[in-house]
């Protein structure tokens, strides 16, 4: 049974976050939206498992409820 891993899992979380920000530097809003969209698709394909992807989309949607 595959399960979404929401425990700390990144080899270097701060580096990842910094690179993500730098990839968006000097981009317009449209370019940034497009980059994020491509990134979601690339990551989704890497994960592959439809149950995990569905759980990930749910987790992302629910975190929006805190606002």
């Amino acid at each position: 049974m595959s399960k979404l891993n929401t425990k700390p899992n990144m080899t270097n979380a701060d580096d990842f976050y910094a690179e993500l920000l730098s990839r968006h530097e000097n981009l317009t809003k449209d370019q940034s939206d497009a980059l994020n969209a491509r990134l979601v698709l690339v990551l989704a394909n890497h994960i592959g498992d439809s149950e995990i992807l569905s759980a990930a989309m749910k987790a992302a949607a629910e975190a929006g409820n805190h606002r």
């Binding site: 939206d33 497009a34 969209a37 491509r38 979601v40 698709l41 690339v42 394909n45």
Partner: protein, 535 residues
């Protein structure tokens, strides 16, 4: 240029003795509509020696090419109806598609059709040719004395289901008359007047978009491929399709958006500059047919109401992406006619006709789901859906995974009736592609093609084992077809897998009813009872 086939009255009005009959003449079956679905139903009934009257409000085949893409399963059905071969001979066989995004060719794909089937994965053929060949078949059956009565310029003006029969009033150039029938099949298209007169709902989703179809005649050296553009320079923010038909006719489909003046856009002085922008200035072309369409994805709640069955676009409508309209309608009547025959002969209860509704509603839902998804990809409805769509297209140029997500139409594949009440026992060790509910996969056999030997009756396919050929239940006979799997690689792969032998009970529509690895008389007869609706 001479008169086009679709401008020629092929079944002109002729007075019928029914017009002078008092009381009204009662027929076993009447079909409304002589499009591909109505003609398919009529041919099927006549081949089974069931008298049928077809009434149609005009006297010609389809005006313009309309449906152009016919898939393997409908071609197999048309083969069973005795008119598939001329279609494949005339049609354009294609297997390559190209996808363009903006100015770039993003990728090229091959349908990679599986070998060992008599019919190709797809042909392109104008609907008017398809209908002409069906009419030729109908005339051939008539000349053999088969009971088909096709009445042109007969238009239904009133309709009532009186419980044990249906009564209709029909308008003709010489006034109106009444007829009655035991069973009515409404194949009168998306704007079905039968559906409206009986007051049945037809609910679904409207897509706010217009598409221009232009059939152009040109001597162009474009290859025989399906070309699809997202957001091309010649149709900014919209989509476009180019596809070849026989006789140097090319189908061009241009998305126009929602807020347009349909009558203005249809004028050739507006159409021609659009086509020039697409084809280039040095290509000579003539317009054969121009149309603008919008579409909906919707279906009726049920396809059978009492003594009336609905089939084709009258029962369900999809977007054109994926060629699931006419292709699924032909599968409707393929499913219906053998059931109607059993009910008319008193060999099955009329509840068998409810399984027509159940199985084809299942098929329609599959088609609506797929064509809705294609439409959402081709015509994004929100800013974010466009961003995601464009992200897929940008990635598709370099990455195979994204090509799977590009959806310019998931092309029609046959429906497997998983979970149908007519399905008998399955044997899970046998290949999945031929499980109960599946249309029988074709395979080469020593004297031709398997599917040329299947259909029109219940059959037992005995592969690598023996079965008697005198089985019968409730007056329904089973014919046995024994096959030796030696030297038949495709037959073995599609029907045996790693097993040594198999028994398949086949329905008259070439779908698998039940299967086992060996013959057991009581199991076969019990599965037959289930398949003919005796519970």
């Amino acid at each position: 240029m001479g008169q086009k086939i679709f401008e020629t009255p092929l079944y002109p009005y002729k007075r019928s003795p029914d017009q002078d009959a008092i009381p009204p003449k009662r027929h076993p079956v009447v079909i409304i509509g002589a499009g591909p679905i109505g003609l398919g139903a009529a041919i099927d009934l006549a081949q089974n020696d069931i008298p049928v009257v077809v009434i149609d409000d005009n006297d010609k085949v389809s005006f313009g090419s309309r449906a152009i893409c016919f898939a393997k399963r409908p071609l197999e059905i048309l083969d069973r109806l005795g008119c598939g071969e001329p279609m494949v001979e005339k049609g354009i066989v294609w297997d390559t598609g190209k996808v363009f995004f903006n100015t770039r060719e993003t990728y090229k794909f091959n349908l990679l059709a599986e070998g060992g089937h008599k019919n190709p994965a797809f042909i392109n053929l104008q609907q008017y040719y398809l209908e002409e060949y069906m009419l030729n078949r109908l005339r051939e059956l008539q000349s053999q004395g088969k009971p088909i009565d096709l009445r042109g310029c007969n238009k239904v003006s009133a309709l009532s289901d009186n419980g044990d029969h249906v009564r209709m009033e029909i308008d003709t150039p010489e006034g109106s008359y009444m007829i009655e029938c035991d069973w009515l099949i409404a194949c009168d298209g998306a704007n079905s007047s039968a559906r409206r007169m009986l007051g049945h709902d037809f609910k679904g989703r409207v897509f706010e978009d217009n598409f221009l179809i232009a059939d152009v005649i040109m001597d162009a050296d474009f290859p025989t491929e399906r070309w699809f553009w997202f957001d091309p320079p010649f149709n900014r923010g919209q989509s476009a399709l180019l596809h070849k038909q026989p006789d140097n006719v090319w189908r061009i489909d241009l998305q126009l958006g929602w807020d347009i003046d349909t009558d203005e856009e249809k004028k050739s002085e507006n159409v021609i500059p659009r086509l020039r922008a697409m084809l280039g200035d040095d290509v000579e072309f003539d317009l054969e047919w121009v149309s603008i369409y919008t579409f909906q994805c919707r279906r009726m709640d049920k396809f059978r109401y009492g003594r009336v069955m609905f089939a084709g676009d009258a029962a369900h409508q999809v977007s054109p992406f994926g060629a699931r309209g006419a292709n699924s309608g032909l599968q409707d009547t393929d499913n219906l006619i053998w059931k109607l025959k059993l009910v008319l002969a008193g060999q099955s209860p009329d509840t068998l006709l409810d399984s027509y509704s159940a199985e084809r509603v299942y098929g329609a839902d599959e088609n609506i789901l797929n064509s809705t998804r294609s439409t959402d990809f081709i015509t994004p409805k929100s800013n974010m859906s466009r961003i995601l769509r464009d992200a897929v297209l940008d990635l598709a140029q370099d990455h195979d995974f994204a090509r799977l997500l590009v959806n310019s139409g998931r092309l029609s594949v046959p429906c497997t009736y998983d979970g149908s009440s007519l399905n008998g026992p399955n044997c899970a060790e046998l290949p999945e592609c031929s499980r109960p509910g599946s249309p029988a996969p074709d395979a080469p056999i020593p004297d031709g093609w398997l599917l040329d030997h299947l259909g029109n009756k219940f059959q037992l396919l005995a592969i690598g084992c023996d079965a008697p050929d005198d089985l019968s239940q409730n007056g329904v006979d089973i014919e046995t077809l024994s096959l030796d799997p030696a030297n038949c690689a495709e037959l073995t792969k599609r029907y045996l897998g790693s097993e040594k032998s198999a028994i398949y009970l086949m329905r008259p529509d070439q779908h698998v009813a039940a299967r086992w690895t060996g013959f057991d008389k009581s199991a076969v007869l019990s599965a037959l009872s289930t398949a003919i609706g005796h519970v």
